[in-house]
């Protein structure tokens, strides 16, 4: 009874068991809303799962692998590039450059496709460039903010321990913010999946789940569209979980002071 009240009260910590019940209940509710929705254009669960089965036979699995590797490649490159740029903001010379790069997140992909096409030698490269650009401009913004908000006392602590300035950067900025870097990565890696469909639509030579989705959408096969979206969501959740797990393994201290740890 107390837990039931806690679920509806502000700032209450509830047990893991209750959270599981809560998630299960809400998913069930969502499923029922979907099942009994009067909207004509919303395909029913049975139709979606049927479409999923058909597409699986048609090679959805293979397309997923193609997209997954492309996304993984893009995330890895974006992470490397963004972290490097964000860490470089410790040097005043790079701050305006990084600030400018972070402003590029306002630009539309459509206007940039031509320039990336000129730079890329293959369709794969073009997709990779587009994805890396799209993710990095957000990733670098988040991570540069993390670096800028490190309190002065952390730097002072390192200096009082006789560390040179590069060692201070390693200890305070790189190691000290590793948990936050994982968090920024987790948030921005999701962006990869969001952009993937658009990017795979631009260059369809390799196929991929995005190209498949655009084809189904073009022919107004809504059940198939929903089935692909559902598959992307499951993969995205798995990716989110994996990054969260890595954060827990490498940064076990990260959530120690949180109320909802």
């Amino acid at each position: 009874m107390n837990e039931a009240i806690a679920v509806l009260s502000p700032n209450r910590v509830i047990s893991k068991k209750t959270i599981r019940w809560l998630v299960g209940f809400q998913l069930l509710m969502l499923f029922f809303v979907w099942l009994f929705s009067p909207t004509v254009f919303l395909p029913k669960p049975r139709e979606v799962f049927q479409a999923l089965g058909e597409m699986w036979v048609e090679g959805l699995g293979g397309e997923l692998i193609t997209s997954f590797y492309l996304n993984l490649e893009a995330i890895a490159l974006s992470t490397l590039l963004s972290l490097l740029l964000a860490y470089l903001t410790v040097i005043p010379f790079f701050r305006p450059i990084v600030a400018l790069l972070s402003k590029l997140r306002f630009l539309s992909m459509v206007g940039l496709t031509f320039f990336f096409t000129l730079m890329a030698a293959t369709g794969h490269e073009l997709k990779l460039f587009l994805l890396v650009f799209s993710v990095s401009v957000f990733f670098v913004t988040g991570m540069a903010e993390v670096v800028a908000s490190i309190p002065k006392e952390k730097f002072d602590l390192a200096r009082t321990l006789r560390m040179g300035e590069w060692r201070v950067v390693w200890e305070v900025v790189v190691l000290g913010q590793a948990d936050k870097a994982f968090e920024v990565l987790r948030q921005n890696a999701a962006m990869g999946w969001m952009m993937l469909t658009m990017v795979e639509g631009i260059s369809r030579s390799e196929g991929g789940v995005g190209a498949m989705l655009l084809n189904q959408n073009k022919h107004f096969h809504l059940s198939a569209v929903f089935a692909i979206q559902l598959t992307i969501l499951v993969l995205g959740l798995a990716q989110d979980y994996a990054i969260g797990l890595l954060r827990k393994i490498f940064c076990p201290y990260a959530d120690l002071t949180l109320e909802r740890a």
Binding site: E153, D156, R159, T160, L161, E171, Y253
Partner: protein, 274 residues
């Protein structure tokens, strides 16, 4: 009766330190000196209480003594060396006891020990010794976020002792403590000071009673006033109290004695006039 003692070499010297910020004087020709107190019968470290009203520039001087900031003119020297102090030579224990949150207690301490001691085995043994001395050995594998306030304070102190050259600056160590914790902190400061003849602790605080109870000297920082009583810009150490000379230190129950209470009243009175 005052214990017999003599003064040895100068350990820390603040020489005519001035600091301006945007052309506005913050510190004006601050001078002070800490000498080694020698007692024949025991190891005696030095504890200086550094008092002053809020906004007087204590933190600025604190940072200059720690080598974290450079003064506009003047310098701070340690151990008689003819060069300004460098960051790391004077340990700093800040008010909220910062530690590297991504490292465990032992990792925080080993990091500090290895900065000074090149032999890993010696550094490790030293850290274990301190962990035992300060009752932290069972907390060695915990992260700072898992420590209590007192444990965190001790860990921060050990970290700085391991790395500095006998000097420790403590910023408001008595702030927000209950009576029991205040006594424990005072004992801890004296324990650390008396671990080595050259150990020197400067305690920056607003708490006159706690500072007087733990220190052998008090520095009082303030500003001069013009004829109209208006404070002039730029503060300096306006008063230095030698508590050994007054026979007010190294007595276990000194804080209960009328002459101590009278002394605290005198300092507080002077404090109010700053």
């Amino acid at each position: 009766m005052a214990a017999s003692y003599t003064y040895g070499k100068t350990l820390l010297k603040v020489e005519d330190v001035s600091l301006e910020y945007d052309g506005r004087p913050i510190l004006k020709r601050v001078s002070a000196e800490i000498k080694d107190i020698i007692r024949s019968d025991r190891v005696q470290g030095q504890v200086v209480g550094f008092l002053g009203p809020s906004g007087i520039g204590k933190t600025q001087l604190f940072r200059i003594i720690a080598g974290l900031n450079k003064p506009t003119s003047g310098r701070v020297t340690i151990n008689g060396e003819d060069r300004p102090v460098q960051a790391g030579e004077v340990g700093v224990v800040a008010q909220n006891y910062p530690l590297f949150e991504h490292r465990t207690v032992i990792s925080n301490l080993l990091l500090a020990a290895k900065q000074k001691e090149k032999d890993d085995k010696v550094a490790h043994d030293k850290v274990v010794q301190y962990l035992n001395d300060f009752d932290l050995i069972d907390k060695a594998r915990l992260f700072p976020a898992q420590l209590s306030g007192g444990q965190r304070q001790r860990c921060a102190i050990i970290q700085q002792i391991l790395c500095s050259d006998h000097f420790l600056l403590m910023d408001e160590p008595f702030s927000g403590l209950d009576l029991l914790m205040l006594e424990k902190t005072s004992e801890l400061i004296q324990k650390v000071a008396n671990m080595d003849e050259l150990n020197t602790i400067i305690v920056v605080t607003h708490d006159v009673t706690a500072a007087a109870a733990v220190a052998d000297h008090l520095w009082l920082m303030g500003r001069d006033h013009d004829a109209g009583g208006k404070p002039l810009p730029g503060s300096h150490i306006v008063e230095t109290y030698d508590l050994i000379e007054r026979d007010l230190c190294w007595h276990p129950q000194i804080i209960t004695q009328p002459r101590f209470i009278e002394f605290v009243r005198e300092v507080k009175e002077r404090f109010r006039s700053l």
